[in-house]
């Protein structure tokens, strides 16, 4: 019997021809409308060609026709899980261009909301990562906890995902009187639940077998392909904008940039889990110290940026998000470019997957945490 097995595995006679498979655009593991053209030899992946654009919405073109406060509402629709960070990037970019200094209260609230959004995003990522590997339980645990954050968002700004809470010069409204209490309750709750994530999935033998040593992305490749965020940091690429270009209240808090040198799928998993603990630490340092003051500075009715080019980098939940505004002095921008983290991360997929089995492709893609509207814009 074992001889037969040997023949099946090693025989050239049974070698199959190369063939092409379309994965997507409607495939559950692509988490949206993305098509991967996969060249296979048996189950081995030889090459991947991503085809995107199924939900290209021309956001950059639309921005050229609208005013700066309006742009913020479009950025929600790109990476809908990092909506608050995207809003903040535009708001900061406009504030820097107009040399407006926002009150400390705004900085603190923005940072707390950033970290809540990051937590919610990582929770959803954890849900679907388990599900992609066939562990449906994680989906229910993750969504249960994420609901608490979305409720806080809803109470604060009326929306659960497309928050649009930022505006040039501050925030749309002040926080709800319940905000601090609810956030503190949530931290207390989630501190007890987060170790459950490790107990449920991190130590699981099947998960370890399917992730350790799979999807290697070296440090030099991560830099060359511009893979940022937790995916880049799992390759040892120190790219946390919160550390390197601190904005809002990040200069006031102590936190660690999570780096890992294992470079594989499990490292990317581990970095995100550890980042959730860091996010809780950051919120804890800020939540009791929100200074009194205004929640926004008075801005002009029509904002006109001075002529020039302005760039703002922030750390969204999946990497470095950048806003580049070219202004010609009018009330709407001449050109807006969004540097979305998912775009650069996607194209490293081919490098990481080459030579692995097609089932590993699903696991590797899941740890890149792609959001398709973020890529297509």
């Amino acid at each position: 019997m074992s001889e037969i097995r040997e023949v099946i595995i090693n025989s050239d006679r049974l070698a199959t021809d190369e063939y092409l498979v379309n994965m997507g655009p409607q495939h559950p593991s692509t988490h949206g409308v993305l098509r991967l053209l996969v060249r296979l030899e048996g189950e081995k992946v030889l090459n991947i060609q991503p085809h995107s654009g199924y939900i290209h919405s021309g956001i950059e073109k639309m921005c050229e026709a609208i005013s700066y406060p309006q742009i913020i509402h479009l950025t929600d629709r790109m990476d809908y899980l990092s909506a608050h960070m995207n809003n903040e990037a535009v708001a900061l970019c406009v504030e820097n261009a107009l040399q407006v200094e926002v009150p400390d209260r705004v900085k603190y609230i923005r940072t707390i909301m950033d970290e809540l959004a990051r937590l919610a995003s990582h929770q959803l990522w954890w849900c679907v990562f388990g599900m992609d590997l066939g562990a449906l339980t994680t989906f229910f645990y993750g969504l249960r906890d994420r609901e608490h954050i979305l409720d806080i968002f809803e109470e604060t700004c009326g929306a659960r995902m497309t928050v649009s809470y930022n505006t040039p010069g501050g925030l749309m409204f002040d926080i709800h009187p319940n905000f601090q209490k609810r956030v503190k309750d949530f931290i207390k709750y989630f501190r007890t639940k987060l170790p459950e994530y490790d107990r449920l999935l991190s130590g699981n033998v099947i998960l370890r077998e399917r992730t350790e040593g799979i999807g290697h992305l070296s440090l030099s490749d991560a830099i060359a392909y511009g893979v940022t965020g937790p995916s880049g940091r799992a390759s040892g690429f120190s790219c946390d904008m919160r550390k390197h270009q601190p904005y809002s209240a990040y200069p006031f808090v102590k936190f660690n940039e999570i780096l890992d040198n294992r470079c594989d799928t499990f490292a990317r998993y581990d970095v995100r889990i550890k980042e959730m603990y860091e996010s809780l630490n950051i919120i804890e340092q800020l939540i009791d110290n929100i200074p009194e003051g205004d929640y926004a500075v008075k801005m002009k009715g029509v904002l006109k940026l001075p002529e020039g080019e302005f760039y703002q980098r922030v750390e969204s939940a999946r990497g470095e998000f950048g806003v580049f505004i070219v202004s010609d002095g009018k009330k709407n921008p001449y050109r807006v470019k969004f540097r979305s983290p998912g775009f650069s991360n996607l194209f490293a997929l081919n490098k990481m997957t080459k030579g692995h089995k097609i089932a590993d492709l699903v696991a590797i893609m899941s740890t890149l945490d792609l959001i398709i509207p973020d890529i297509d814009r």
């Binding site: 820097n96 511009g226 940022t228 302005f310 760039y311 980098r313 070219v326 470019k337």
Partner: protein, 151 residues
């Protein structure tokens, strides 16, 4: 290097380029024919070692097309902006830098897709988001037929 050091270093090194301190970053404008050589030098020289392109933007400047590279050195943690203009606006072409910085390959595809900038020697210059035969929507003279942008 700080911005001032970078400014004086680049001024001494690239005599033909136009170098100034912008709002945030040091900005260097090079001639189209010097682009590839400059990119190689910026990346390979130890003092600069710009190895990470974090943004690549194409802009339609009405008389020509501009391409703006935001680059950073992970080793030295300094950042600069590299700029170049094409000679022609209708059929703009420029040398690719995708052999220097791999990530530029995909950002250049996006610039080709949305602005119609042709990158010479690019190994895989195809449309990225839109179909073949679609216009180039980020050009200023693009006609928005279904009037989704301007009403």
């Amino acid at each position: 290097m700080t911005n001032e050091e970078l400014l004086s270093y680049l001024t001494g090194r690239f005599a033909d380029a136009e170098i100034k301190q912008g709002v945030q970053y040091v900005e260097m404008t090079v001639k189209a024919e010097d682009l590839h050589e400059t990119a190689v030098q910026l990346k390979e020289t130890d003092e600069t070692s710009f190895d990470y392109v974090f943004c690549l933007t194409g802009v339609d400047y009405a008389e020509n097309m501009g391409i703006i590279y935001h680059i950073e050195s992970i080793k030295h943690r300094h950042t600069m902006v590299l700029k170049v203009r094409t000679a022609d606006r209708v059929n703009p072409a420029i040398d690719t830098v995708s052999d220097v910085w791999i990530t530029a390959k995909y950002h250049e595809r996006e610039a080709y897709d949305l602005l119609g900038i042709h990158f010479n020697n690019h190994t895989d210059l195809r449309r990225l988001f839109l179909e073949d035969g679609w216009g180039f929507p980020l050009r200023k003279d693009y006609v928005d037929e279904i009037r989704i942008v301007e009403r």
